[in-house]
């Protein structure tokens, strides 16, 4: 590799990325950093600006302001050098319905001047095999199901070795089997040294395959980091079930917590048993709380430590309900 800058540093970096459409900011000051070698989950509800961001990264649209670097090169200035190293599935597959799956891939491969035409057939066959389309390769795409088109779209991203693969909603239209295959595929791509950028509105999907996550809401980045960092950011709470709530409140307050009576999460108590809960600061070990309660003569029926799940965090970050935020 003659140019080492393509192989170092973050794969994607944006600073203050902003896009205005019809008088409103669709993207508002996005600072995105995608570490090399990561599986990066780009989460957000419908209409939060995920696809717009991807379009700008790929040079399909231009940013109103802000800087964009992909593979260490400024975009859109260096698109011709960057794009051959990037494979993408953007906003659903797009193919000529009157051509077969294989002919469609040949066409897109012919459009890339930086690949070797003599290996075209072998590479398309390999890509079709990786997405499980070998059997349907010679059928016209017009006869494909949505899931098959989606697979073909992923195969297009795999036509040659890429340093970055962008998959916009890759499991759209796929059956559970197909979803699992995509997960395996992403793992095998990472093993080959490819960074994978996956956008999704499905938290479960991202949680299963990603090492890093960014969460977008209404054009703003509301969280970003490794999956474990984000998990840790979720608040930890303790909950005590006790027939002596007043004593419990006193003890917890003395320990420096901010307790309050609450509706029990874990156990429907018998009459007379109430729940007290409080956020747990890092410096207090949970077992010292139990020891203090027992020492003070507070009867403890139940004691639990809960971490806010990623699901709750996601909902807390992006809001609940079906309303498209704008």
């Amino acid at each position: 590799m003659s140019d080492p800058t393509l192989l170092e540093g973050p794969v994607v970096q944006t600073r203050g990325l902003t896009k205005r459409f019809g008088g409103q900011n669709v993207l508002d000051g996005i600072d995105l950093t995608v570490p090399r070698g990561s599986v990066f989950g780009f989460l957000g509800p419908n209409g939060s600006g995920k696809t717009t961001t991807i379009r700008i990264l790929l040079g399909l649209a231009t940013a109103t302001s802000g800087e964009v670097e992909v593979l260490g090169r400024s975009i859109p200035k260096h698109l011709p050098e960057v794009l051959p190293r990037v494979g993408a599935l953007v906003e659903g597959p797009g193919f000529y319905p009157f051509l077969s799956g294989r002919a469609n891939l040949h066409r897109l491969d012919a459009a890339d001047r930086f690949v070797d035409p003599s290996t075209r057939r072998a590479r398309t066959d390999r890509a079709l095999e990786r997405v499980g389309l070998s059997q349907a390769a010679d059928k016209k795409v017009g006869a494909y199901s949505l899931g098959m088109k989606q697979r073909l779209g992923i195969a297009n991203a795999l036509l040659t070795h890429r340093d970055l693969i962008v998959l916009d909603e890759p499991t759209n239209g796929l059956d559970p089997q197909g979803t699992r295959e995509v997960r395996h595929l992403v793992h095998s791509l990472t093993a080959e040294g490819t960074t994978v950028f996956v956008s999704s509105h499905l938290l479960a999907e991202v949680e299963q395959i990603c090492s890093h996550v960014a969460v977008l809401r209404a054009g703003r980045l509301v969280a970003q980091g490794s999956l474990s960092e984000l998990r840790d950011a979720g608040q930890t709470r303790v909950e005590v079930l006790t027939p002596d709530p007043d004593g419990c409140l006193a003890v917890l307050t003395r320990l420096g917590l901010l307790p309050q009576r609450s509706t029990p999460v874990h156990y429907t108590p018998h009459a007379g048993i109430e729940a007290v809960s409080a956020p747990l600061p890092d410096q207090i070990a949970p077992h010292t709380i139990v020891a203090a309660l027992v020492a003070a003569g507070v009867r403890v029926t139940g004691f639990t430590v809960d971490q806010m799940g990623l699901e709750e965090l996601f909902v807390a970050l992006t809001g609940e309900g079906f309303d498209v935020v704008q």
Binding site: D3, R55, G94, R107, A111, R113, T160
Partner: protein
């Protein structure tokens, strides 16, 4: 990291654009629509020849130019058919292909994948324009070839009397037919550029096709109005019927040259507009 798997030669000289042009032409001629258009064009001389054959009588002197010569010499079928096809049928088929260039890719969703592949936007326009011009040539050839064949099949073939009164042999007259193909193809390149530009304005191919055809019709209507005589030298369709000058002895090349100059002007202006528009717009389809 072994990022080079042998498939990529990014550090080397990139392949020439011919691979993609070949792919574009393959795509064009793999479409049933293209063949339907060419067949429809080829049907024009066939219909003319059959109609004239069935109603053999003294020349009426009416109808399109060259129609009356057909019964004496089958080689005139091609010329009569081109005369019939130029005002509407040829612009119609060219409008379909030229209007589809960019908007068609946008509507199938393939435009974004071509651009990400990556095809530079300028290169995509150039290849699309070349494809449309190749279609113009194919369309003209379809009319002339079908006309020559059906003419030879239904009527006597012999030395051709030209508009200037001179007579040329069959081989020479076939050469003149080839020149007519070249002339008509050149005549349509301006319309291709207009269609290409309109096609960059929309993601709806049918709209771009219709607009391109409308422009060719408007140009001809304006060309009919004597009040707009000052405008006529600038009209896209000004020299469309000038191919008849190729049927003189010696060949009158001035209309060929004037036509080529006018058409290249249209190609430059609308090519530049298409480039300006397409390289700065967001591809959202």
């Amino acid at each position: 990291m072994s990022s080079d798997t042998g498939a990529r030669n990014a550090e080397q000289r990139p392949a020439s654009g011919l691979v993609f042009l070949a792919s574009e032409l393959t795509l064009l001629f793999r479409r049933r629509r293209t063949w339907a258009l060419l067949l429809a064009l080829a049907a024009i001389p066939v219909m003319i020849a059959v109609a004239v054959r069935l109603t053999s009588g003294p020349p009426s002197g009416r109808g399109p130019a060259f129609l009356d010569q057909i019964t004496q010499n089958g080689l005139f079928v091609a010329v009569a058919a081109i005369t019939v096809a130029i005002p509407l049928f040829l612009p119609l088929t060219v409008g379909v292909v030229a209007g589809d260039t960019v908007a068609g890719e946008a509507s199938t969703g393939t435009l974004r994948y071509l651009l990400v592949a990556p095809v530079g936007r300028g290169r995509l326009l150039l290849v699309k324009f070349t494809g449309a011009v190749v279609f113009c040539l194919a369309a003209t050839l379809a009319v002339v070839l079908a006309g020559t064949l059906i003419g030879a099949a239904l009527f006597p073939v012999g030395p051709v009397t030209l508009l200037s009164g001179d007579t040329v042999g069959v081989a020479e007259s076939l050469l003149r037919s080839a020149l007519i193909c070249a002339y008509v193809t050149v005549s349509l390149t301006g319309l291709c550029a207009v269609g290409l530009f309109i096609s960059t304005l929309t993601d709806v191919p049918v709209g771009a096709m219709a607009a391109t055809v409308v422009i060719s019709v408007v140009s001809q209507v304006l060309g009919q109005l004597p009040q707009l005589e000052w405008l006529h030298p600038w009209l896209l369709s000004q020299y469309w019927f000038g191919f008849a000058d190729l049927l003189r002895q010696p060949i009158e090349w001035s209309s060929f040259a004037a036509n080529a100059l006018l058409q290249s002007g249209y190609v430059l202006v609308f090519g530049a507009l298409a480039y300006g528009r397409f390289t700065t717009r967001d591809v959202l389809a």
